[in-house]
């Protein structure tokens, strides 16, 4: 008998503890839900935290209640804010702490658990709300649902429904309550409810209404069951509905690494053809790459041996060398370019240029003269000409008897050709000359006497035959005789 009493006592305390625990849980949960769900009713925001970078301040599943931010409010460094993630244009709410006001007026944000601050600065226009209250963990069902943790969600739902069902149990000494209890069915308490005093009262009620049919009793029983089960289910369903409408904010993690100070510095270099020419120390190298409208041809040889474009010249034409981008000039059938300074006659000299023409008119490609104007200069020598049949001649200038060399082939074929005329002094003021075209010697022999005067280089026009009508590129002049292999090297670097 004593054992039964003890058992009854344990049962009594257990029942009391469980029911009271369930009631406290219910109050606690509903209270949290109210705190979490009510703010939107008066214009505030509730945000379920969905990731853990704000730990230990905010955990996944916490609900942040935040008051809306307006531009006139002060943003206090150290506070937690809900903001539009500035790192993306997608709609993405973040809840992070503002840790710094930057010089540019933006703010640096960070998750408490992040090793680094967020990389993209936050403009105040992206701030949505200031975090004010925290309802811990109450948003968990939302995060579980979002991340597909259905098992946890189901377990929590069952536990909560169970707790809510327990919470409505009547306790001894309590006055009868509105609702379910009063409708205790007359057919007796459900199993496990034997100690409920409400049940015995119900039973006595039932005895009073003993005339009722069994069918009516069964119906009442079912109805009562539904009513007993419904409030918890309805409450939880309402909670879930509230959860579905909840706003989530990410407390995302960030990390970065960088490789800094990569740099590229350009060295000293020239185009291959320019490199080849400069290796042989010309006193003049006109690349003729100037833009239209320019009057001075720059010298790349380093001797400031400038040239002057004449009115006939047309600048900015397509260049002649495939691997050395640049432009060429068209002579326009007249004197196109002259040296700005006269050059004394040297015992050995070389003239190198690129030309192209499709006309059979011939004309003076290059020469030296005592003037820089069109028309025939008083003195003229070292003239390279193209004949009307496209052959290249050298020595054809009036200074005593003529000694002229002419290439066997013609070159008026509308393609670019590399022309080098190399002369060394011979007896009686004459010269031994080799004419190279496209890197190979085409003709050699004794040529006419040269004058002893300081002459200007004249490109495209001279005395005698008409001016050359075609294109000229990359003119270089040397006070030395280029050897054959250097000529070939220049051509190879085209």
């Amino acid at each position: 008998m004593a054992a039964t009493t003890t058992l009854d006592a344990v049962r009594g305390w257990a029942h009391l503890t469980v029911v009271l625990g369930a009631r406290m849980y219910r109050v606690f949960l509903l209270g949290l839900v109210v705190i979490a769900a009510a703010p939107p009713l008066f214009g505030w925001g509730s945000y379920v935290v969905e990731s853990g970078s704000m730990e230990p301040s905010l955990h996944v599943g916490d609900v942040v209640i935040a008051s809306p931010y307006t531009e006139d409010q002060r943003i206090r460094v150290g506070r937690v804010f809900v903001f539009d993630d500035p790192a993306t244009t997608e709609p993405h709410l973040m809840v992070h702490r503002i840790v710094e006001r930057r010089d540019d007026g933006k703010y640096t944000t960070a998750g408490d658990a992040n090793a680094v601050t967020d990389i993209t600065p936050l403009p105040s226009s992206d701030v949505r709300a200031t975090a004010v209250l925290l309802a811990p963990r109450v948003g968990h069902p939302v995060t579980w649902a979002q991340s597909g943790q259905w098992l946890r969600l189901a377990a929590w739902l069952l536990a909560t429904i169970g707790a809510f069902a327990l919470a409505v149990r009547h306790l001894e000494g309590e006055s009868p309550r509105r609702g379910v209890r009063r409708r205790r069915p007359p057919g007796g308490p459900p199993p496990g409810d034997a100690r409920d005093p409400g049940a015995s009262k119900g039973a006595s009620n039932g005895a009073r209404r003993g005339g009722r049919s069994d069918a009516a009793r069964a119906q009442a029983h079912t109805l009562a069951h539904m009513l007993r089960v419904r409030p918890p289910v309805a409450t939880v369903a309402a909670l879930l509905l509230a959860g579905m409408l909840a706003c989530t904010a990410s407390a995302g993690f960030t990390g970065y690494t960088r490789n800094s100070a990569m740099s590229w510095t350009v060295g000293q270099w020239t185009q291959p053809y320019v490199t080849a020419v400069l290796a042989d120390s010309p006193h003049t190298l006109w690349l003729l790459d100037e833009q239209p409208g320019t009057t001075t041809a720059q010298d790349r040889s380093g001797h400031q041996s400038l040239g002057s474009y004449r009115p006939a010249a047309v600048l900015g034409q397509q260049g002649g060398l495939p691997n050395n981008p640049g432009s060429s000039i068209a002579t326009g059938g007249g004197l196109a370019l002259t040296g700005s300074y006269p050059i004394a006659t040297a015992a050995s000299h070389t003239v190198e240029l690129w030309f192209r023409t499709g006309t059979q008119a011939g004309g003076s490609l290059a020469g030296f003269g005592s003037s820089t104007t069109t028309g025939t200069p008083s003195y003229e020598d070292r003239v390279v000409r193209m004949t009307t049949t496209g052959h290249i001649t050298y020595g054809d200038w009036a200074n005593g008897s003529l000694n002229v060399v002419t290439t066997p082939g013609g070159y008026a074929d509308n393609t670019w050709h590399h022309l080098v005329v190399v002369s060394t002094s011979a007896n009686g003021g004459r010269e031994n000359t080799v004419i190279y075209v496209d890197g190979a010697a085409r003709v050699s022999g004794l040529t006419s006497k040269v004058e002893y005067f300081s002459g200007y280089v004249r490109i495209g026009g001279g005395s005698g035959t008409s001016a050359f009508n075609g294109s000229i590129d990359n003119v270089s002049l040397y006070d030395s005789a280029l050897p054959a292999q250097r000529v070939a090297a220049h051509y190879a670097a085209r």
């Binding site: 244009t89 209250l133 309590e174 995302g252 990569m262 590229w264 350009v266 060295g267 020239t270 640049g326």
Partner: protein
């Protein structure tokens, strides 16, 4: 032992609800106070289990430091980026701190970036590219426009745990179509850029 008497039950039942409300208020107040009062962040002391870390194997050395660059020069090197994440994250690469030259050298240095496995900062041997190049022969000036996580290249999905990826970078100095005058202007010109990899958790 006695069963709880009616009086005890009554008292306990009466104070249970106010007690729960007090506990609720205290919890909310304590949590809010801890989280939302202004405070200085002491970074790194107490990283949460969910923290993410991204590192590379450059030991602070620049991947490319090219002096005396000449036309047609090219170079290929690797860098390995290691992600240590306990939540699913995404890593993207982008450029920061571009150094521009007055003569437009950044338009002439063209970069290709591939991602794959194998190889390291010290030695690219063993690198195997996975998929097409992330950046294909783009001038530095274009890469400099890719300057944020959102526009970043790659989009490497990192599963929880430690994982790494090697990026192979190739540059070439493209002087196609440059006249000698433009070449002359470019001499001594310097351009530069920093590459940054950023990891963000997916939620």
């Amino acid at each position: 032992m006695q069963s709880p008497g009616t009086a005890t039950t009554k008292v306990l039942a009466t104070i249970a609800t106010p007690l729960a409300l007090v506990a609720l208020g205290a919890t909310v107040y304590q949590a809010s106070y801890a989280a939302f009062t202004g405070q200085t962040r002491n970074s790194g002391n107490e990283w949460a289990t969910g923290s993410v870390k991204l590192t590379d194997d450059d030991n602070g050395a620049a991947r490319f430091r090219v002096a005396n660059m000449l036309p047609g020069d090219t170079q290929t090197k690797c860098i390995t980026v290691t992600a240590d994440a306990s939540v699913a994250s995404t890593v993207k690469g982008y450029a920061i701190n571009p150094v521009t030259s007055t003569v437009g050298l950044e338009n002439r240095v063209k970069v290709t970036i591939e991602n794959g496995t194998g190889g390291s900062f010290a030695d690219c041997t063993g690198f195997v590219a996975s998929g097409p190049a992330l950046v294909n022969d783009q001038p530095l000036s274009a890469i400099a426009q890719v300057n944020s996580y959102e526009t970043g290249f790659g989009g490497w999905s990192v599963a929880p745990g430690v994982s790494s990826k090697t990026y192979r970078m190739t540059w070439r100095f493209d002087t196609t179509g440059m006249t000698q005058q433009q070449v002359d202007q470019m001499q001594g010109a310097k351009t530069g850029i920093d590459m940054q990899w950023e990891m963000q958790s997916n939620s």
